[in-house]
């Protein structure tokens, strides 16, 4: 039996029933990012100031390309979940809130596309 009033039901602003999965994915991606970020830091500090050829050589190794892809994709998912949480907390306007969350996930998908496109280009270069 629903505890919502008829008005609440009609407005459709009750629980979305997806909060727990958001919480869990936020933590799972966070835990995955602990080792991935350490790898990224060691890699990126090793590539400070190097030329384009050196950077390409590094990223053309399958292990490095896969880890970089995993790092960026996990990061983008974690980022979208986190920004969604911040937007929900601070933006009360329904339509503006929806558009902002839409923009965040759109950014994540476009960034994922460019990341994978770059890694694939380097792999076949």
């Amino acid at each position: 039996m629903s505890m919502e009033t008829p008005l609440r039901k009609v407005r459709g602003m009750g629980s979305a029933h997806t909060g727990a999965s958001h919480f869990i994915y936020q933590r799972v991606t966070a835990a995955a990012l602990v080792p991935l970020t350490l790898w990224f830091a060691v890699s990126v500090i090793g590539l400070v100031g190097v030329g384009e050829v050196d950077a390409m050589m590094f990223l053309s190794l399958p292990m490095h390309a896969i880890l970089m892809g995993l790092f960026v994709l996990t990061l983008l998912y974690h980022l979208a979940l986190g920004l969604q949480e911040v937007i929900i907390d601070y933006v009360p306007h329904q339509i503006f809130k929806f558009l902002l969350i839409f923009a965040v996930y759109g950014f994540a998908v476009i960034a994922a596309f460019f990341c994978l496109f770059a890694l694939a280009s380097i792999a076949i270069a």
Binding site: V34, T37, L47, E52, L59, L75, L79, F114, A118, S121
Partner: protein, 145 residues
């Protein structure tokens, strides 16, 4: 209430950030959010960097010049600190999720440890770059400046 035009509309506000003193747990919590939002820009820079590497010497050179510029350096060190902070404080949050470190004293101490570690990390990165240890994956004949 004579000076307010709509006394009935003066609703009580719940206490917000500005009315509290800043205990370390509150500061670290806010900084976790702020660095998280800021690091979205850092993610965009990582993707820009990957794209620049894949897209040929001209695009890479553009990225390199932007990264080496004073503004670029400011942002890159900023991102480095934000990532270090969010990384260490994220581990603190994961520990909390498992129920560890909730006592006020523990939370204060781990908060200070996180701040110290994040600053030490940036200092370490600066030292690695300053003393020429960074860039160990290159053959050190890359473009300079």
């Amino acid at each position: 209430m004579a000076d307010t035009p709509h006394p009935a509309r003066r609703r009580p506000l719940s206490p917000f950030l500005t009315v509290f003193r800043w205990p370390i747990t509150m500061a670290t919590s806010i900084a976790h959010r702020a660095t998280g939002v800021g690091l979205a820009g850092g993610a965009a820079v990582v993707v820009w960097w990957l794209f620049a590497v894949s897209h040929g010497p001209e695009t890479y050179h553009e990225f390199y010049l932007a990264a080496a510029s004073p503004v670029g350096q400011f942002f890159l060190y900023g991102f480095a600190w934000a990532l270090a902070y969010h990384f260490f404080n994220g581990i603190r949050h994961l520990a909390w999720d498992f129920g560890f470190g909730f006592a006020r004293k523990d939370a204060d101490i781990t908060g200070m440890i996180v701040i110290a570690l994040s600053l030490l990390t940036v200092a370490g990165i600066y030292a690695l770059i300053h003393f020429g240890i960074a860039g160990y994956f290159g053959v050190r004949q890359g473009i300079e400046g």
